[in-house]
């Protein structure tokens, strides 16, 4: 019989500005937050401490003073285990990989219960200063960074190209920001909850043209813990759970940009990863009831929605502007508020996507609930969607 993985418990702090300045009299300590979240998630799951045999952490930001954070936390919680304990890093895909690796330990039989968790603290460091580090991650540090490219600049060029090819407007892109802010207003975990209008979006100062302040994510801190279990354990707990029904991965072999001219905005890695995940799940894109996409900007949500087949190619901006991807629409996307409004504590962002899907598929999403949601989809990515990691999740109520 095939082993299956289930999400049986979750916890998270609201996304926001939590990091204290180095000279603050009282400091926010990452391990105090993380320890409380572990206890909370495990209580949500109904498992015991001794059941946990693997832990996969996301790499903390370099601004976290406690190094080797994962084993330090093991010591704080006296968590001995026999599976694996590790920190993972995979650029923007970091948290999705933490989830994926925790799944793997269960699939391999190394653990019956595993945690995927992490904390991202960076907001006390200015954007300009943080970019001195992040600008070295996207593109070639010698040939691109020397020209002043920034991580968001590549998505801005996606937007320019998309508008050129399909006639999409800034207003259509901006409608994604308005939609996601309306979703975030209903999400206690969201960083930005005050509703905004399209006029608000279009009148913001430019960040990287054509993207303005509300088209891009802000600076965020966050932390979350997911409890995963074998399906056998999940059933024994007698509570609603979420089954991992499909998984797909694709890396297109380029870092940010290919020197062989290609269709940069096709996000082919997402298309291929989705095909694999759908096939593994025995479904098609039309069967998905809700999607939480890793989409740092409005344009990225549009492009991914097309690449994974939720909307036809070239129609993503129009579909968003027409309300198809809003709560109550044909295919709700980013019901959490997405990265622009729920927030983007980058190395843990995908954990929040799984938290939202777990809430939706366990019927706990309150005012954000997609009625009768059975199948959800999460994407993780790195670079300019040069690689994608996609999971199909199924409600078991």
């Amino acid at each position: 019989m095939t082993r299956r993985v289930a999400i049986v418990g979750t916890s998270a702090i609201p996304v926001g500005r939590h990091q204290t300045a180095d000279d603050a009299e009282l400091q926010t300590l990452e391990h105090e937050i993380m320890g409380r979240l572990v206890v909370e998630a495990v209580a949500d799951a109904g498992v015991e401490k001794r059941d946990i045999q693997s832990l996969v952490f996301t790499l903390p930001r370099p601004y976290t003073r406690q190094k080797y954070f994962h084993t330090f936390l093991m010591g704080q919680l006296r968590l001995a285990c026999r599976g694996t304990v590790m920190e993972v890093m995979g650029n923007g895909m970091t948290a999705a990989l933490a989830f994926d690796q925790a799944c793997n330990d269960i699939l391999l039989g190394r653990a019956e219960v595993a945690l995927a968790l992490g904390i991202n603290m960076e907001s006390a460091v200015s954007a300009a200063e943080h970019m001195m580090s992040s600008m070295r991650t996207t593109g070639d540090v010698d040939f691109h960074t020397s020209a002043g490219f920034t991580p968001i600049a590549w998505y801005a060029m996606d937007a320019m190209r998309y508008m050129h090819e399909h006639g999409a407007t800034r207003a259509q892109l901006g409608s994604v920001a308005v939609k996601n802010r309306a979703h975030a207003a209903l999400n206690p975990l969201a960083q930005f909850r005050k509703p905004i209008t399209l006029d608000d979006v279009l009148s913001q100062r430019p960040i990287v043209e054509p993207l303005g302040l509300y088209d891009v994510p802000g600076r965020s801190d966050g932390a979350a813990c997911l409890v995963l279990a074998s399906e056998g354990v999940a059933r024994s707990l007698g509570r609603p759970y979420v089954r991992v029904r499909g998984r797909g991965f694709c890396h297109d072999g380029s870092h940010q940009i290919s020197d062989v001219p290609n269709d940069m905005i096709a996000f082919d890695a997402a298309r291929q990863a989705a095909q694999t995940a759908y096939a593994a799940a025995g479904i098609g894109p039309a069967d998905i009831d809700i999607a939480e996409l890793y989409a740092p900007c409005t344009i990225v949500e549009i492009l991914v929605s097309e690449a994974i087949g939720l909307v036809p190619r070239g129609q993503g901006a129009r579909a968003a502007a027409d309300g198809e991807t809003r709560l109550g629409g044909r295919i709700p996307i980013s019901t959490s508020g997405g990265l622009t409004s729920r927030g983007h504590p980058a190395y843990v962002t995908s954990l929040y996507n799984y938290v939202e899907l777990a809430d939706q598929l366990r019927g706990r999403a309150g005012e954000r609930q997609v009625q009768g949601a059975e199948l959800g989809l999460a994407t993780g990515e790195l670079g300019n969607y040069n690689a994608a990691l996609i999971h199909v999740l199924e409600a078991q109520r």
């Binding site: 001195m132 020209a147 060029m157 190209r161 960040i207 990287v208 043209e209 020197d259």
Partner: protein, 141 residues
């Protein structure tokens, strides 16, 4: 044929490292030469220059001159810049498809008359900073 040279009376904000391998590129650029490496095994060129062919993994690479012309595939203007680039902001960057068939990403130098658009013809120029060169695309229209 040499590239057009544009003096800039500043030091580069974030200068590139130079390796024994890429020294040919950067010292050539300082003299107005625009070149990269081509694989002797499979004949494909690659940019930026690198010692291993990304296509066939041969290490038998030779330097080849590139034509300076290209077209803009996409572009942006960066307003929120990292600390060292703040004084230059806003500045334009873009993706250029070179006539020789390679796609590169680089700074686009100022276009006072707003002719920066996808499909615009550009030429590669040398920005001669006080401490060394950078390459950029300049609009031809």
């Amino acid at each position: 044929m040499t590239l057009a040279m544009m003096p800039v009376d500043e030091k580069r904000a974030y200068p590139p490292r130079v390796s024994a391998f890429t020294e040919t590129f950067w010292s050539g650029l300082a003299q107005g030469r625009w070149r990269t490496v081509c694989c002797r095994s499979c004949s494909r060129a690659t940019f930026p220059p690198k010692p291993v062919c990304p296509h066939c993994w041969s290490t038998d690479m030779e330097w080849t001159d590139l034509k300076p012309r290209g077209t803009i595939y996409s572009w942006t203007r960066i307003h929120a810049a990292p600390t060292v680039f703040a004084s230059e902001a806003p500045y334009a960057c873009g993706i250029v498809d070179l006539e020789d068939g390679l796609r590169i990403a680089c700074r686009i130098v100022a276009d006072p008359d707003g002719s920066l658009r996808i499909g615009a013809a550009v030429e590669i120029v040398v920005l001669q900073y006080n401490d060394g060169p950078l390459f950029a695309a300049r609009l031809l229209d």
